[in-house]
Each structure stands twice: as structure tokens, then as C-alpha cells.
Symmetry: C14
Subunit: 88 residues, 14 copies
Amino acid sequence: MSDMHWFVILSTVGAALAIAIGVLAPGLAMGKAIAQALDALARQPEAEKAITRTLFIGLAMIESLAIYVLVVVLIILFRNPLIEYLLK
Amino acid sequence: MSDMHWFVILSTVGAALAIAIGVLAPGLAMGKAIAQALDALARQPEAEKAITRTLFIGLAMIESLAIYVLVVVLIILFRNPLIEYLLK
Amino acid sequence: MSDMHWFVILSTVGAALAIAIGVLAPGLAMGKAIAQALDALARQPEAEKAITRTLFIGLAMIESLAIYVLVVVLIILFRNPLIEYLLK
Amino acid sequence: MSDMHWFVILSTVGAALAIAIGVLAPGLAMGKAIAQALDALARQPEAEKAITRTLFIGLAMIESLAIYVLVVVLIILFRNPLIEYLLK
Amino acid sequence: MSDMHWFVILSTVGAALAIAIGVLAPGLAMGKAIAQALDALARQPEAEKAITRTLFIGLAMIESLAIYVLVVVLIILFRNPLIEYLLK
Amino acid sequence: MSDMHWFVILSTVGAALAIAIGVLAPGLAMGKAIAQALDALARQPEAEKAITRTLFIGLAMIESLAIYVLVVVLIILFRNPLIEYLLK
Amino acid sequence: MSDMHWFVILSTVGAALAIAIGVLAPGLAMGKAIAQALDALARQPEAEKAITRTLFIGLAMIESLAIYVLVVVLIILFRNPLIEYLLK
Amino acid sequence: MSDMHWFVILSTVGAALAIAIGVLAPGLAMGKAIAQALDALARQPEAEKAITRTLFIGLAMIESLAIYVLVVVLIILFRNPLIEYLLK
Amino acid sequence: MSDMHWFVILSTVGAALAIAIGVLAPGLAMGKAIAQALDALARQPEAEKAITRTLFIGLAMIESLAIYVLVVVLIILFRNPLIEYLLK
Amino acid sequence: MSDMHWFVILSTVGAALAIAIGVLAPGLAMGKAIAQALDALARQPEAEKAITRTLFIGLAMIESLAIYVLVVVLIILFRNPLIEYLLK
Amino acid sequence: MSDMHWFVILSTVGAALAIAIGVLAPGLAMGKAIAQALDALARQPEAEKAITRTLFIGLAMIESLAIYVLVVVLIILFRNPLIEYLLK
Amino acid sequence: MSDMHWFVILSTVGAALAIAIGVLAPGLAMGKAIAQALDALARQPEAEKAITRTLFIGLAMIESLAIYVLVVVLIILFRNPLIEYLLK
Amino acid sequence: MSDMHWFVILSTVGAALAIAIGVLAPGLAMGKAIAQALDALARQPEAEKAITRTLFIGLAMIESLAIYVLVVVLIILFRNPLIEYLLK
Amino acid sequence: MSDMHWFVILSTVGAALAIAIGVLAPGLAMGKAIAQALDALARQPEAEKAITRTLFIGLAMIESLAIYVLVVVLIILFRNPLIEYLLK
């Protein structure tokens, strides 16, 4: 059953690296958006409502990208559809 | 059935890395667009409607790029058209 | 039929990586264009019509680049013209 | 039981590198957000409440990305669902 | 017919990567040109005609670079002139 | 007992590199936050209390990222849960 | 005829990568030149004639660099002078 | 005793590289913080006390990151807990 | 005649990559020079003659660098002086 | 005694590279701190005492990082504690 | 005569890559110098003589660097002094 | 005596690369410090004494980093303490 | 005489790459110095004598670095002192 | 005498690359220092004496770094102290 081992090992390592790489861009994007929101708040405090609403919608959009990666990683770890070709 | 194992393993790892790399650019692009939208809101609060509309259309365009990657990844994981050459 | 396996595996992995890499530049370009459009809207709200029209034409041009990559990837996954040399 | 060794070794190393890489983006993003919050405080001290609230929500969103990585790492170290295929 | 397989596999992967890499520069260049055009529109709305004309000629020039790559990729996929040396 | 050696060696090297890489982002983030705090102090000395409080909360958040890495490294060095599969 | 295969394969892949890499610099250069031309138009609309003339001569010079690469790539694909040493 | 040699060699090299890499971020962060403190002193000499206190707390926080790495390196060199598995 | 094949293959690939890499710097340099010329034209239209003359001499100097690479590449493809050592 | 050779060779090379890499960050940090101190002196000559004191404390902190690396390198070269496992 | 082949092949490839890499810095330097000369012309048209003279001397100095590389490449291609050790 | 050769060869190459890499950071740091000192002199000529003194102390500190590397390199070339394990 | 071939081949390739890499920094440095000299001329035409003198001394210093590399390359190509160990 | 060949070959290549890499930082540093000196001259012509003196001392300090590398390279080429272990 040596081949099964390779499948398990590489899936595990691939999942770990994928989530680690996959949060890079969302992380940097969030940092940029939040920093700019704070800057906007400091310059125009009375526009707080519009700024906060736009920021939250934006963060949700960015978070969705991280969720895509997390979903693929969890599919690979818990319920890989390709595994049926190995168990047959 | 050793070859099938290689197919499953490399498809899994390739899919994980592809989605991780594929959200890089959309993530950074969203971060930039949202940050600029917040900056625009702070400078011209009365143009909020035009800014929000342009931002949402832009985010949808960027999201489409991430969706392209996600679709290819899901095709590979769930219904790879090339697999028929292996099962014959 | 071991060679066919290599063809299927490398096509799959190549397609996944190609679409992941291929959306990098369009993503960053869209982010830049949209961010600048928002900045232009904030500075010159009355030029909204010209800005929006130029932005949409530009986004379409950029999107065309991502489509080129997607088309090549789908050709490889679904109807690779080179495959006839393997099935003969 | 040589294969089990490879699984343990690569899981351990993969987990260590994944958490090390996975805190890169959240770390940089936090640094950027906090720095901008301090700048905003210095420019608009009276908006402290709005700034602090936005900062904390933002830091929580960013922290969530690091938590995603940590969770995947801990799953791999303590309760890897793929391990059942090896123990059968 | 093992050599033919290598030819098909590497042509496919090479074509996929070439189009993915080849749209990088045109994509970034378009993003820059469009962003600057929007900035120019915001600063000098009455020069819209000259700006738009220059932008479109420029985008066509940049697009030509991506077309070069696409043409070479399609030649490789559909009608590779070097293939006659293999079929003799 | 050659496999055990590989486990010990790679765990040791992996732990050393993980902590070395893992302090990169927290280090840079702290440098940025502290530098900005000093800049804020110089511009708005009377806001010292708010600046210091925000800075310390921020540093604690960033430190938490480094602690995540340190904890995983210490788990690997002192009490690796995966080791039970090797000693059985 | 195995050596001939290597020649065909590596020529094909080399040509694909060369054209992909070779349009990088011309693409970025065109983007920069066009962006600056648009900026110049916005600042000095009455100098449109001189700006356009200089831009077109410049784009032609840059295009010549991409043509150099394309010519070498087409020579390699269609009429490689070194091939006579292989057919003798 | 060849395996023991590999353990000693790789531990030594890993420790040397880990401390070399691990001081990168703290070094850059300190440079940034100190440079900003000097800039702050030049702009607001009368805030010297607050600046110096914030700087020293910050340097201590950054130093703690370097200490984490140093501690792990010294543990590996002088008292590696994993070594008991090799001496049994 | 296997060695001759290696010579032909590597010369072909080397030539393709050399011209692709060799136009990088001239391309970027031209882009910079032309962009600056356009900027100069916009700021000082009456100095058009001096600007154009300097630009053309500069472009010729830069083009000479690309020509150096092209000449070496064509020497390698069409009339490699080292080939006499192989045909003897 | 071939294993001892590997130990000596890799320790020597590792020590040389570690000290070479380890002075990177302290060097850049010192350069930044000193440059900023000179800038501060030019802007606020009368604050020379505070600037000089802060600079020297900062340089000592940075130097400590280089010393950490030097100490580990000298331990490896002159008195490696792990060597006892090899001489037993 | 297999060794002679390796010499010819690697000299050819090395020469091609050396000239391609060797024009990088001169190209960028020329681009920078010419761009700055154009900027200087636009700001101080009456200093054209001094600017042109300094630019030409500078371009000649930079060109000399590219010539160094070209000379070494031509020596290697046409008259390699080390070749006498091979023909003896 | 083949092992001794490897020791000599790798020590030589390692020493050459270590000193080449080790002067990178001190070189850049010196360039930055000197450039800033010249800038400070131009802005505040009457503070020449303080500037010069600070610059020289700074250059000495930076030079010390290069000396660390040089010392380790010379130890390796002339009097490597680890060599006694090889000559026994 | 196979070893002599390796010596000749690697010396040739090493020399070609060394001169190609070695002109990078002098080239960029010259470009920067000349560009700044032109800028200085445009801002202070009456200081032309001092500027030109400083520029020429600076260019000579930078050229000396390229000469160091050229000398080592020519020593390797024409009169390598280590060659006596091979001819004995 | 095959080992001696490896020593000669790698020493030659290592020396060539070391001097090529070792002039990188001094070159860039000189470029920066000279450029800043020219800028300082243009802004404060009457401080020419102080500027020139500081520049020359600085250039000498930077040159010393390149000399360190050159000395180690020449030691390796002409009088390597480690060679006695090979000739015994």
C-alpha cells in the first residue's frame, strides 16, 4: 500500500502549503484596505458610515478569496473526490 | 494501478497550488481598488453613488478572474475530461 | 498505456498552473485601472461618463488577455489537437 | 514501517513551514494597519473611537487568516483525517 | 511511439505556460496605459478626443505583442512546421 | 533505527528554519508600527496616551503571530503528537 | 530517430518561451511610453502633434525589439539554418 | 555511527543558517525604528522623553523575536530534546 | 552523430533565450527615454528640436546594445566559428 | 574517517556563509540609522546630544544582532558542543 | 572527439547568455542617463551644450562596459587562448 | 587523500563567496551613510564638524561588520581550528 | 586528457559570466552618477567645472571596479597561475 | 591527478564569480555617493571643499571593501595557503 502513503503525504503537505500561500494576497489586501479606511476616517470623520460600509463589503469580497482556498484545502483533506479512483 | 495514483496525487497537489496562486492577483487588485475607493470617498463624499457603482462593477470583473481559476480547479477535482483516456 | 498517463497528468497540472499564472497580470492591471478610475471620479465627478466608458473599454481589453489564457487552457483540457498523434 | 516515517517526517516539516509562511501576510498587514491607525490618531485625535473600532475589526479579520493556517496545521499535527487510509 | 508522446506532452505544457507568461507584460502595460488615460481625462476632460485616440492606438500596439505570443502558441498546438521531421 | 534519525534530523532543521522564517513578518511589522508611533508622537505629543495604548495592543497582536510559530516549533521539538505512530 | 525528436521538442518549447519572455520588456516599455504620452497630452494639449509623432517613432523603435525576437523564433520554427547538420 | 554524523552536521549547519536568517527581520526593524526615532527627535526635541521610552520598549519587543530564534538555536546546539530518540 | 545533435539543439535554444533576454534592458531603457522625452516635450514645447535630436542619438546608442546581442545570436545560428572544430 | 571530513567541510562552509548572510540586516540597519542621524543633525544641530545618544544606543542594539551570529559561528568553528557525539 | 563537442557547445551557449546578460546594466544606465538629459534639456534649454557634452562622455563610458563584455565574448567565439591546451 | 581535496576546494570556494556576499550590506550601508552626509553638508555646512564625526563613527561601526566576515574568511583560509580533526 | 577539457570549458564559461555579471553594478552606478550630473548641470549651470571634475573622478573610481573584474577574467583566460599544477 | 583538477577548476570559477559579485555593492554605493555629491554641489557650490573631502574619504572606505574581495581572490589564485595540504 505504498502508493496510498504517497497520496496521503503529498495531500497533507500540499494542503498545508496551499493555505499558507493562499492567505498571502488576502492578508496584504486587507491590510491595505484597512489602512486606507483608517486614513480616510482621519481625513473625513463625518463620512464614517459610507467608509465603514464600503470597507466591510470590500473585506467580505477579499475574505471570499481566502475561503475559496480554504474550501479546496478542506475538500482535499476531508473528502477528496479523486480518492474513489484509488479505492476501487 | 500505480499510474492512476500519480494522476490522483498530482491533480490534488496541482489543484491546491493553483487556487492558492490564482487568488494572488485578484486579492491584491481588490485591495488596491477598495483602498482607492475609500480614499475617493474621503475626498469626495458626495460622489458616493458613482464611486460605489464603479467599485462594485470593478470587483465583479476581478472576482471573475478568481472564478476562472476556481472553475478550472473544480473541473480538475470533480470532472476531469482527460480522465476518459485513462479509464479506457 | 503508461505514456497516456503522463500526457493526462502533465496536461492537467499544466492547465491548472497556466490559468493560475495567467490571471496575475490581468488581475493587477484591472486593480490599477479601477483604482485610477475611482481616483478620477473623486477628482472630476462631472466627467463620469467619459471615465466610465474608457474604463469599461479598458477592462474589456484586459479581460481579453485572460480569455486568451482560458481558451488555451480549455483547448488543452477538452479538445487538444495534438492528441490525434497519440491515438493513431 | 518505513512509509509511516515519511508521513510523520513530512507532516512535521510541512506544518512547521506552513505556519512560518502563513503568518507572513497577516504580520505585514497588521503592521500596516496599526501604523496607519497611529498616523490617523496623530492627525485626528478626536476620531479616536471610530479609528480604534475600525482597527480592531480589521485586526480580527486579518487574525482570522492566520487562524485558518493555524487550524490546518493543528489538524495535520493532531488529527489528520487522511491518516485512516494508512492505518487500515 | 514513446518519443511522439514526449513531443505532444511538452508542446502542450509549453504552450500553456507560454501564453500564461506572455500576457504578463501586455496586461501590466494595458493597466498602466488605461490608468493614465483615466487620470488624464480627470485632469483635462476637454482633451478627451486626443486622449482616447492615443489610448486606442497604444492598446492596439500592446495587444499586438500578446497576439505574437498567441500566434506562436496556436502554431505549436495546431500546425507545428517541425512536426514533418517526426512523421517522416 | 535509521528512519528515526531522519525524523530527528529533519524535525530539528525544520524547527530551526521555521522559527527563523516565522519572525520575519512580525519583525518587519513591529518595526513599521513602532516607527509610525514615534512619528505620531513627534507630530502630536499630546496624544501620547492614545498612541501608546494603540501601539501596545498592536504589538501584542503581532507578537501573537510569532507566538503561534514558536508554539508549533516547541511542539515539534518537545512533544510531537505524530511521534506515537513511530514508537508503536 | 530519437535525436531528431529532442531537436523538435526543445526547439518548440524554446521558441514558445522565447517569444513569451521576449515581449516582456517591449510590453512594459510601450505601457510606460503610452502612459507618459497621455499624461503629456493632458498637460499640454496644444503640443499634440509633436507628442504623437515622438510617441509613434518611439513605439516603432520598441516594436523593432519584439520583431527581433519574433524573427529569431520564426527562423527556429520554420527554417533553422543549423538543421542541415542534422539531415546530412 | 554514520547516522549520528548526519544529525550533527545538519544540526550545526541548520543552526548557523537559522540565526543568520533569523536576525534579518529584527535588524531591519530596529534600523527602521531607530531611524524614525532620530527623525522624531530632530522634529520635536522636547518630546525626547516619550520618544526614548517608546523606542526602548519597541526595541525590547523586537529583540524578543531575535531571542526566540537564538533560544531555539541554542536548544538545538546544546540540549536537543529529540536526541534521546537517537541515543536509546 | 549524437554529439552534433546536442550542438544544434543547445545552440538553437541558447540563441532563442539570448535574444529574448537581450532585449529586456534595451526595451526598458527605450521606454524610459521615450517617456521622458514626451514629458520634456509637454513641459518645454519650444525645445522640441534639441529634445528630438538627443532622443534619437540616445535611442541609437541603446539600439546598438540590442544589435550586439542580435549579431552574436545570428553568428551562432548562421556561421558559428567554433563549428570547424566539430567538422574536422 | 570520511564522515568527520563531511562534518568539518560543512561546518566550515556553513560558518562562512552564516556570517556573510548574518551581517546583511545589521549592515543595512546601521546604514539607515546613521543616514537618518546625519539628516537629523543637519535639520536640528542643537539636538546633537540627544541624537548622538540615541544613535549609539541603537547601533549597540543592532550590533548585538551581529554578535549573536558571530558567537554562533565561533561556537561552531572552535567549540561545537555536538562534536562529543562524534568523538565517542 | 566528444570532449571537443562539449567545449564548443558550452562556449556557444555561454557566449550567447553572457552578451545577453552583459547588456542589461549598460542598457538601463543609458536609459537613465538619456532620460535625465532630456529632463535637463527641458528645464534648462540654454545649458544644452554642457548637457550634451556630459551625456556623450557618459554614454561612451557606459558603452565601454558593454564593449568589455562583447570583447570577451568575441575572444571566446573566435580566438579562445585556452584552446591550445585542447589541441595539443 | 581525496577527502582532504574536498575540504580544501570547498573551503576555498566558500571563503571566496563569503567575502563577496559579506561586503554587500556594508557596501550599501556605507553608500547610504556617505550620501546622506553629503546631503547634510549641503544643507547645513556649518554643522560640518558634528556631521563628519558622526559619519566616521558610523563608518567604523559598519566597517566592523565587514571585518567580522573578513576575519572568519581568513581563519578559514589560514588557520581553520577544525582542521585538527582531519590531520589526526 | 578529459580533465583538461573540463578546466578549459569551465574557465571559458566562468569568464564569460563573470564579466557579464561584473559590469552590472558599475553600469548602474555610472548611469546614476551621470544622470545626477546632468540634473546638477541643469539646476546650477555655473558650477559646471566642479560638477564635471567630481563626475570624472567618480566615473574613474567606478570604472576601476569593472577593471578589477576584467583583469581577473583576462588572467583566467590568458595566464592562469593555477594552470601550472595541471601541466606538471 | 584528477582531484587537483577539481581544485584548480573550482578555484578559478569561484574567484571569477567572487570578484564579479563582490563589486556589486561597492559599485552601487559609489554610484549613490557620487550622485549625492553632485547633487550637493549643485545646491551648495560654496561647500565644495567639504563635500569633496567627505566624498573622497567615503569612496576610499567603499573601495576598501572591494579591495578585501580582490585580495581574497588574488590569494586564491596566486598563493592559496590551503594548497600545502594537497601537495604533501
